[in-house]
Symmetry: C2
Protein backbone atom coordinates (compact mmCIF):
# COMPACT_ATOMS: atom_id res chain seq x y z
CA UNK A 1 0.00 0.00 0.00
CA UNK A 2 2.77 2.43 0.93
CA UNK A 3 3.96 2.82 -2.63
CA UNK A 4 0.62 4.25 -3.68
CA UNK A 5 0.59 6.78 -0.83
CA UNK A 6 4.06 7.90 -1.78
CA UNK A 7 3.04 8.09 -5.40
CA UNK A 8 0.05 10.29 -4.52
CA UNK A 9 2.32 12.67 -2.61
CA UNK A 10 4.73 12.81 -5.51
CA UNK A 11 1.92 13.41 -8.00
CA UNK A 12 0.29 16.08 -5.86
CA UNK A 13 3.60 17.96 -5.45
CA UNK A 14 4.14 17.54 -9.19
CA UNK A 15 0.75 19.05 -10.00
CA UNK A 16 1.43 22.04 -7.74
CA UNK A 17 4.71 22.65 -9.50
CA UNK A 18 3.02 22.39 -12.90
CA UNK A 19 0.92 25.42 -11.94
CA UNK A 20 4.13 27.37 -11.29
CA UNK A 21 5.59 26.34 -14.65
CA UNK A 22 2.39 27.43 -16.39
CA UNK A 23 2.42 30.78 -14.57
CA UNK A 24 6.05 31.31 -15.59
CA UNK A 25 5.39 30.53 -19.26
CA UNK A 26 2.09 32.44 -19.29
CA UNK A 27 3.97 35.49 -18.04
CA UNK A 28 6.42 35.20 -20.91
CA UNK A 29 3.80 34.36 -23.55
CA UNK A 30 5.35 31.00 -24.44
CA UNK A 31 3.35 28.00 -25.70
CA UNK A 32 4.68 24.67 -24.39
CA UNK A 33 3.94 21.32 -26.10
CA UNK A 34 4.61 17.93 -24.46
CA UNK A 35 5.06 15.27 -27.15
CA UNK A 36 4.50 11.70 -25.95
CA UNK A 37 4.34 8.24 -27.55
CA UNK A 38 5.75 4.72 -27.57
CA UNK A 39 9.40 4.32 -28.55
CA UNK A 40 9.85 4.80 -32.29
CA UNK A 41 6.39 6.20 -33.03
CA UNK A 42 7.92 9.19 -34.79
CA UNK A 43 8.27 12.02 -32.26
CA UNK A 44 11.58 13.28 -33.63
CA UNK A 45 10.42 12.93 -37.22
CA UNK A 46 7.20 14.86 -36.57
CA UNK A 47 9.23 17.64 -34.94
CA UNK A 48 11.62 17.73 -37.87
CA UNK A 49 8.61 18.24 -40.19
CA UNK A 50 6.77 20.79 -38.05
CA UNK A 51 9.58 23.06 -36.90
CA UNK A 52 10.75 24.29 -40.33
CA UNK A 53 7.13 25.18 -41.18
CA UNK A 54 6.67 27.10 -37.93
CA UNK A 55 10.05 28.73 -37.54
CA UNK A 56 9.40 31.72 -39.82
CA UNK A 57 6.67 32.84 -37.47
CA UNK A 58 7.77 31.60 -34.06
CA UNK A 59 11.05 31.37 -32.19
CA UNK A 60 11.24 27.71 -31.27
CA UNK A 61 13.04 25.74 -28.58
CA UNK A 62 13.22 21.97 -28.19
CA UNK A 63 13.92 19.83 -25.13
CA UNK A 64 14.93 16.29 -26.07
CA UNK A 65 14.56 13.86 -23.17
CA UNK A 66 16.15 10.43 -23.27
CA UNK A 67 17.46 7.89 -20.83
CA UNK A 68 20.63 7.78 -22.90
CA UNK A 69 21.98 8.90 -26.34
CA UNK A 70 21.92 12.39 -27.88
CA UNK A 71 20.95 11.20 -31.36
CA UNK A 72 17.58 12.98 -31.46
CA UNK A 73 18.90 16.32 -30.23
CA UNK A 74 21.65 16.28 -32.85
CA UNK A 75 19.14 15.40 -35.59
CA UNK A 76 16.73 18.18 -34.63
CA UNK A 77 19.53 20.73 -34.37
CA UNK A 78 20.94 19.70 -37.74
CA UNK A 79 17.59 19.53 -39.52
CA UNK A 80 15.79 22.54 -38.07
CA UNK A 81 18.35 24.92 -36.59
CA UNK A 82 16.08 25.36 -33.55
CA UNK A 83 17.50 26.00 -30.07
CA UNK A 84 17.85 22.45 -28.68
CA UNK A 85 18.99 20.83 -25.47
CA UNK A 86 19.30 17.16 -24.61
CA UNK A 87 18.40 16.01 -21.12
CA UNK A 88 19.12 12.56 -19.70
CA UNK A 89 16.81 11.17 -17.05
CA UNK A 90 19.26 8.85 -15.27
CA UNK A 91 17.10 5.83 -16.00
CA UNK A 92 13.76 7.50 -15.24
CA UNK A 93 10.87 6.52 -17.48
CA UNK A 94 9.15 9.92 -17.56
CA UNK A 95 9.67 13.65 -17.11
CA UNK A 96 8.54 15.11 -13.80
CA UNK A 97 7.59 18.76 -13.60
CA UNK A 98 10.83 19.40 -11.69
CA UNK A 99 12.79 17.97 -14.63
CA UNK A 100 10.64 19.99 -17.03
CA UNK A 101 11.37 23.19 -15.09
CA UNK A 102 15.11 22.53 -14.93
CA UNK A 103 15.16 21.72 -18.64
CA UNK A 104 13.33 24.97 -19.45
CA UNK A 105 15.89 26.89 -17.39
CA UNK A 106 18.76 25.08 -19.09
CA UNK A 107 17.28 25.75 -22.54
CA UNK A 108 16.67 29.39 -21.67
CA UNK A 109 13.13 30.57 -22.36
CA UNK A 110 13.87 34.24 -23.09
CA UNK A 111 13.06 35.17 -26.66
CA UNK A 112 11.11 31.98 -27.40
CA UNK A 113 7.44 31.68 -28.45
CA UNK A 114 7.02 27.94 -28.71
CA UNK A 115 8.79 25.08 -26.90
CA UNK A 116 8.49 21.38 -27.65
CA UNK A 117 9.36 18.77 -25.04
CA UNK A 118 10.04 15.36 -26.58
CA UNK A 119 9.25 13.09 -23.64
CA UNK A 120 10.66 9.58 -23.00
CA UNK A 121 9.20 6.99 -25.40
CA UNK A 122 6.68 5.31 -23.11
CA UNK A 123 2.88 5.04 -23.32
CA UNK A 124 2.45 4.68 -19.55
CA UNK A 125 4.40 6.74 -17.03
CA UNK A 126 4.82 10.10 -18.81
CA UNK A 127 1.01 10.45 -18.83
CA UNK A 128 0.94 10.55 -15.02
CA UNK A 129 3.24 13.55 -14.70
CA UNK A 130 1.96 16.99 -15.68
CA UNK A 131 5.00 18.75 -17.16
CA UNK A 132 3.36 22.19 -17.08
CA UNK A 133 2.77 22.02 -20.83
CA UNK A 134 -0.17 23.78 -22.51
CA UNK A 135 -0.73 20.87 -24.87
CA UNK A 136 -0.19 17.12 -24.61
CA UNK A 137 0.33 15.86 -28.15
CA UNK A 138 0.26 12.05 -28.27
CA UNK A 139 1.44 10.02 -31.26
CA UNK A 140 0.10 6.57 -32.11
CA UNK A 141 1.99 4.89 -34.96
CA UNK A 142 0.24 2.52 -37.34
CA UNK A 143 2.64 -0.43 -36.76
CA UNK A 144 1.74 -0.41 -33.04
CA UNK A 145 -1.88 -1.31 -33.78
CA UNK A 146 -5.23 0.43 -33.45
CA UNK A 147 -5.94 -1.17 -30.06
CA UNK A 148 -3.38 0.80 -28.05
CA UNK A 149 -5.89 3.31 -26.57
CA UNK A 150 -7.68 0.31 -25.01
CA UNK A 151 -4.50 -0.93 -23.33
CA UNK A 152 -2.89 2.36 -22.33
CA UNK A 153 -5.90 4.41 -21.23
CA UNK A 154 -4.35 7.30 -19.28
CA UNK A 155 -2.09 8.43 -22.13
CA UNK A 156 -5.10 8.90 -24.39
CA UNK A 157 -7.16 10.47 -21.60
CA UNK A 158 -4.61 13.25 -20.99
CA UNK A 159 -4.12 13.99 -24.72
CA UNK A 160 -5.29 17.32 -26.14
CA UNK A 161 -4.48 15.95 -29.58
CA UNK A 162 -3.59 12.55 -31.00
CA UNK A 163 -1.64 12.22 -34.24
CA UNK A 164 -1.78 8.79 -35.85
CA UNK A 165 1.62 8.53 -37.58
CA UNK A 166 3.06 6.38 -40.41
CA UNK A 167 -0.35 6.13 -42.10
CA UNK A 168 1.43 5.38 -45.39
CA UNK A 169 2.13 1.82 -44.14
CA UNK A 170 -1.47 1.14 -43.08
CA UNK A 171 -2.11 -1.16 -46.07
CA UNK A 172 0.55 -3.61 -44.91
CA UNK A 173 -0.40 -3.57 -41.22
CA UNK A 174 -3.61 -4.73 -39.63
CA UNK A 175 -4.68 -1.19 -38.72
CA UNK A 176 -8.12 0.37 -39.14
CA UNK A 177 -8.39 4.17 -39.00
CA UNK A 178 -12.02 3.76 -37.98
CA UNK A 179 -11.13 1.48 -35.05
CA UNK A 180 -8.28 3.76 -34.01
CA UNK A 181 -10.65 6.73 -33.87
CA UNK A 182 -13.29 4.70 -32.04
CA UNK A 183 -10.72 3.50 -29.49
CA UNK A 184 -9.32 6.99 -28.95
CA UNK A 185 -12.89 8.28 -28.46
CA UNK A 186 -13.48 5.63 -25.76
CA UNK A 187 -10.78 7.39 -23.74
CA UNK A 188 -11.27 10.97 -24.80
CA UNK A 189 -14.26 12.68 -26.40
CA UNK A 190 -12.63 16.02 -27.18
CA UNK A 191 -9.04 15.42 -28.33
CA UNK A 192 -8.27 16.53 -31.88
CA UNK A 193 -7.31 13.57 -34.05
CA UNK A 194 -4.93 13.83 -37.02
CA UNK A 195 -3.96 11.11 -39.49
CA UNK A 196 -0.43 11.82 -40.65
CA UNK A 197 2.50 10.55 -42.66
CA UNK A 198 5.91 12.18 -42.59
CA UNK A 199 6.71 10.24 -45.78
CA UNK A 200 3.91 11.49 -48.03
CA UNK A 201 3.00 14.61 -46.04
CA UNK A 202 -0.57 13.57 -45.21
CA UNK A 203 -2.04 15.53 -42.30
CA UNK A 204 1.11 17.54 -41.60
CA UNK A 205 -0.57 20.78 -42.82
CA UNK A 206 -3.50 20.21 -40.48
CA UNK A 207 -1.27 19.41 -37.51
CA UNK A 208 0.88 22.46 -38.24
CA UNK A 209 -2.21 24.69 -38.47
CA UNK A 210 -3.54 23.36 -35.18
CA UNK A 211 -0.27 24.02 -33.30
CA UNK A 212 0.05 27.39 -35.04
CA UNK A 213 -3.42 28.53 -34.02
CA UNK A 214 -3.08 27.31 -30.44
CA UNK A 215 0.30 29.06 -30.16
CA UNK A 216 -1.06 32.32 -31.59
CA UNK A 217 -4.08 32.14 -29.29
CA UNK A 218 -1.76 31.99 -26.30
CA UNK A 219 0.99 34.41 -27.24
CA UNK A 220 -1.53 37.08 -28.32
CA UNK A 221 -3.17 37.06 -24.89
Amino acid sequence: MEIFTIKEDILSRNNEQAKDVRALLDGKGIFYVNLMSSPGAGKTTVLSKLIPRLSDDFRIGVIEADIDSDKDALAIERETGARVIQIHTAGACHITCQMSLEALQALGTDGLDLIFLENIGNLVCPAEFDTGADMNLVLLSVPEGDDKPLKYPLMFEVAHAVAVTKTDVAPIFDFSFENAEKNIRKRNDSAKIFFTSALNGKGIDELEQYIRSETVRKIKK
Copy 2:
Protein backbone atom coordinates in the same frame (compact mmCIF):
# COMPACT_ATOMS: atom_id res chain seq x y z
CA MET B 1 16.57 12.21 -3.20
CA GLU B 2 13.97 10.29 -1.22
CA ILE B 3 12.34 8.75 -4.27
CA PHE B 4 15.56 6.96 -5.15
CA THR B 5 16.01 5.57 -1.64
CA ILE B 6 12.47 4.24 -1.72
CA LYS B 7 13.06 2.78 -5.15
CA GLU B 8 16.18 0.97 -3.94
CA ASP B 9 14.22 -0.56 -1.05
CA ILE B 10 11.47 -1.65 -3.40
CA LEU B 11 13.96 -3.11 -5.87
CA SER B 12 15.91 -4.89 -3.18
CA ARG B 13 12.72 -6.45 -1.73
CA ASN B 14 11.70 -7.33 -5.28
CA ASN B 15 15.00 -9.09 -5.95
CA GLU B 16 14.68 -11.10 -2.75
CA GLN B 17 11.21 -12.21 -3.76
CA ALA B 18 12.44 -13.17 -7.22
CA LYS B 19 14.73 -15.72 -5.57
CA ASP B 20 11.68 -17.26 -3.87
CA VAL B 21 9.77 -17.42 -7.16
CA ARG B 22 12.76 -19.11 -8.81
CA ALA B 23 13.04 -21.62 -5.98
CA LEU B 24 9.32 -22.39 -6.27
CA LEU B 25 9.47 -22.93 -10.04
CA ASP B 26 12.78 -24.81 -9.85
CA GLY B 27 11.15 -27.21 -7.40
CA LYS B 28 8.35 -27.85 -9.83
CA GLY B 29 10.58 -28.01 -12.92
CA ILE B 30 8.87 -25.15 -14.70
CA PHE B 31 10.59 -22.81 -17.17
CA TYR B 32 9.37 -19.20 -16.92
CA VAL B 33 9.81 -16.66 -19.74
CA ASN B 34 9.28 -12.90 -19.30
CA LEU B 35 8.41 -11.31 -22.65
CA MET B 36 9.05 -7.57 -22.83
CA SER B 37 8.92 -4.88 -25.54
CA SER B 38 7.43 -1.54 -26.57
CA PRO B 39 3.67 -1.43 -27.16
CA GLY B 40 2.77 -3.13 -30.41
CA ALA B 41 6.14 -4.79 -31.07
CA GLY B 42 4.44 -8.16 -31.49
CA LYS B 43 4.51 -9.93 -28.11
CA THR B 44 1.09 -11.53 -28.53
CA THR B 45 1.77 -12.44 -32.15
CA VAL B 46 5.08 -14.11 -31.29
CA LEU B 47 3.34 -16.12 -28.56
CA SER B 48 0.59 -17.16 -30.94
CA LYS B 49 3.28 -18.49 -33.32
CA LEU B 50 5.44 -20.20 -30.69
CA ILE B 51 2.86 -21.87 -28.48
CA PRO B 52 1.28 -24.18 -31.10
CA ARG B 53 4.79 -25.39 -32.06
CA LEU B 54 5.71 -26.08 -28.43
CA SER B 55 2.45 -27.42 -27.06
CA ASP B 56 2.87 -31.00 -28.23
CA ASP B 57 5.90 -31.32 -26.01
CA PHE B 58 5.22 -28.96 -23.15
CA ARG B 59 2.21 -28.04 -21.05
CA ILE B 60 2.06 -24.27 -21.43
CA GLY B 61 0.57 -21.45 -19.37
CA VAL B 62 0.35 -17.76 -20.28
CA ILE B 63 0.00 -14.69 -18.07
CA GLU B 64 -1.20 -11.68 -20.03
CA ALA B 65 -0.52 -8.42 -18.21
CA ASP B 66 -2.18 -5.20 -19.28
CA ILE B 67 -3.22 -1.95 -17.72
CA ASP B 68 -6.64 -2.48 -19.26
CA SER B 69 -8.38 -4.67 -21.90
CA ASP B 70 -8.45 -8.48 -22.15
CA LYS B 71 -7.97 -8.58 -25.92
CA ASP B 72 -4.59 -10.37 -25.84
CA ALA B 73 -5.66 -13.06 -23.38
CA LEU B 74 -8.73 -13.84 -25.48
CA ALA B 75 -6.61 -14.00 -28.65
CA ILE B 76 -4.03 -16.35 -27.11
CA GLU B 77 -6.73 -18.59 -25.65
CA ARG B 78 -8.57 -18.74 -28.95
CA GLU B 79 -5.49 -19.28 -31.10
CA THR B 80 -3.45 -21.63 -28.94
CA GLY B 81 -5.74 -23.32 -26.42
CA ALA B 82 -3.10 -22.72 -23.72
CA ARG B 83 -4.05 -22.09 -20.08
CA VAL B 84 -4.29 -18.28 -19.95
CA ILE B 85 -5.03 -15.63 -17.38
CA GLN B 86 -5.32 -11.89 -17.81
CA ILE B 87 -4.02 -9.64 -15.07
CA HIS B 88 -4.62 -5.92 -14.84
CA THR B 89 -2.02 -3.74 -13.15
CA ALA B 90 -4.29 -0.90 -11.98
CA GLY B 91 -2.31 1.65 -13.97
CA ALA B 92 1.14 0.26 -13.12
CA CYS B 93 3.70 0.35 -15.90
CA HIS B 94 5.48 -2.90 -15.04
CA ILE B 95 5.10 -6.25 -13.27
CA THR B 96 6.69 -6.51 -9.83
CA CYS B 97 7.75 -9.89 -8.52
CA GLN B 98 4.80 -9.77 -6.11
CA MET B 99 2.42 -9.40 -9.09
CA SER B 100 4.30 -12.15 -10.90
CA LEU B 101 3.89 -14.49 -7.92
CA GLU B 102 0.19 -13.71 -7.50
CA ALA B 103 -0.34 -14.24 -11.22
CA LEU B 104 1.44 -17.61 -11.10
CA GLN B 105 -0.78 -18.63 -8.20
CA ALA B 106 -3.91 -17.46 -10.03
CA LEU B 107 -2.86 -19.29 -13.19
CA GLY B 108 -2.05 -22.43 -11.22
CA THR B 109 1.40 -23.86 -11.90
CA ASP B 110 0.66 -27.53 -11.23
CA GLY B 111 1.04 -29.65 -14.33
CA LEU B 112 2.79 -26.95 -16.37
CA ASP B 113 6.28 -27.11 -17.93
CA LEU B 114 6.56 -23.70 -19.51
CA ILE B 115 4.99 -20.36 -18.59
CA PHE B 116 5.11 -17.14 -20.60
CA LEU B 117 4.52 -13.77 -18.94
CA GLU B 118 3.56 -11.09 -21.45
CA ASN B 119 4.67 -7.98 -19.59
CA ILE B 120 3.28 -4.43 -20.02
CA GLY B 121 4.34 -2.85 -23.33
CA ASN B 122 7.10 -0.56 -22.10
CA LEU B 123 10.83 -0.44 -22.87
CA VAL B 124 11.72 1.16 -19.55
CA CYS B 125 10.17 0.14 -16.24
CA PRO B 126 9.61 -3.62 -16.69
CA ALA B 127 13.39 -4.03 -17.09
CA GLU B 128 13.93 -2.81 -13.52
CA PHE B 129 11.80 -5.48 -11.88
CA ASP B 130 13.01 -9.06 -11.79
CA THR B 131 9.85 -11.17 -12.17
CA GLY B 132 11.56 -14.41 -11.12
CA ALA B 133 11.65 -15.54 -14.75
CA ASP B 134 14.40 -17.83 -16.10
CA MET B 135 14.58 -15.92 -19.35
CA ASN B 136 13.99 -12.29 -20.34
CA LEU B 137 13.00 -12.31 -24.00
CA VAL B 138 12.96 -8.78 -25.42
CA LEU B 139 11.35 -7.87 -28.75
CA LEU B 140 12.50 -4.96 -30.89
CA SER B 141 10.22 -4.32 -33.86
CA VAL B 142 11.60 -2.94 -37.13
CA PRO B 143 9.22 0.07 -37.29
CA GLU B 144 10.58 1.31 -33.94
CA GLY B 145 14.06 1.81 -35.40
CA ASP B 146 17.46 0.21 -34.94
CA ASP B 147 18.57 2.86 -32.41
CA LYS B 148 16.36 1.76 -29.54
CA PRO B 149 19.09 -0.14 -27.62
CA LEU B 150 20.99 3.16 -27.43
CA LYS B 151 18.03 4.98 -25.90
CA TYR B 152 16.64 2.27 -23.61
CA PRO B 153 19.80 0.65 -22.26
CA LEU B 154 18.58 -1.34 -19.27
CA MET B 155 16.00 -3.33 -21.25
CA PHE B 156 18.69 -4.62 -23.57
CA GLU B 157 21.14 -5.18 -20.71
CA VAL B 158 18.75 -7.52 -18.86
CA ALA B 159 17.80 -9.49 -22.00
CA HIS B 160 18.85 -13.12 -22.34
CA ALA B 161 17.58 -13.01 -25.91
CA VAL B 162 16.43 -10.27 -28.28
CA ALA B 163 14.08 -11.02 -31.16
CA VAL B 164 13.92 -8.37 -33.84
CA THR B 165 10.34 -8.64 -35.11
CA LYS B 166 8.49 -7.54 -38.29
CA THR B 167 11.65 -7.97 -40.39
CA ASP B 168 9.43 -8.35 -43.48
CA VAL B 169 8.82 -4.56 -43.44
CA ALA B 170 12.51 -3.64 -43.15
CA PRO B 171 12.71 -2.52 -46.80
CA ILE B 172 10.15 0.24 -46.20
CA PHE B 173 11.57 1.44 -42.89
CA ASP B 174 14.93 3.00 -42.23
CA PHE B 175 16.22 -0.05 -40.31
CA SER B 176 19.60 -1.74 -40.62
CA PHE B 177 19.97 -5.27 -39.21
CA GLU B 178 23.67 -4.62 -38.87
CA ASN B 179 23.14 -1.45 -36.81
CA ALA B 180 20.50 -3.18 -34.70
CA GLU B 181 22.93 -5.96 -33.86
CA LYS B 182 25.74 -3.49 -33.20
CA ASN B 183 23.50 -1.43 -30.91
CA ILE B 184 22.26 -4.51 -29.01
CA ARG B 185 25.89 -5.62 -28.56
CA LYS B 186 26.75 -2.21 -27.06
CA ARG B 187 24.38 -3.11 -24.22
CA ASN B 188 24.82 -6.86 -24.04
CA ASP B 189 27.60 -9.07 -25.33
CA SER B 190 25.97 -12.43 -24.69
CA ALA B 191 22.25 -12.19 -25.52
CA LYS B 192 21.06 -14.42 -28.34
CA ILE B 193 19.75 -12.36 -31.25
CA PHE B 194 17.01 -13.56 -33.61
CA PHE B 195 15.68 -11.83 -36.73
CA THR B 196 12.04 -12.83 -37.09
CA SER B 197 8.85 -12.24 -39.04
CA ALA B 198 5.51 -13.68 -37.97
CA LEU B 199 4.29 -12.94 -41.50
CA ASN B 200 6.81 -14.95 -43.53
CA GLY B 201 8.02 -17.20 -40.71
CA LYS B 202 11.64 -16.02 -40.78
CA GLY B 203 13.52 -16.90 -37.59
CA ILE B 204 10.54 -18.50 -35.84
CA ASP B 205 12.10 -21.98 -36.06
CA GLU B 206 15.30 -20.72 -34.47
CA LEU B 207 13.45 -18.89 -31.70
CA GLU B 208 11.30 -21.97 -31.05
CA GLN B 209 14.40 -24.19 -30.90
CA TYR B 210 16.09 -21.86 -28.48
CA ILE B 211 13.13 -21.76 -26.08
CA ARG B 212 12.64 -25.50 -26.49
CA SER B 213 16.27 -26.31 -25.60
CA GLU B 214 16.35 -23.92 -22.64
CA THR B 215 13.08 -25.39 -21.34
CA VAL B 216 14.32 -28.98 -21.72
CA ARG B 217 17.60 -28.08 -20.04
CA LYS B 218 15.67 -26.87 -17.00
CA ILE B 219 12.89 -29.42 -16.69
CA LYS B 220 15.34 -32.34 -17.11
CA LYS B 221 17.42 -31.19 -14.15
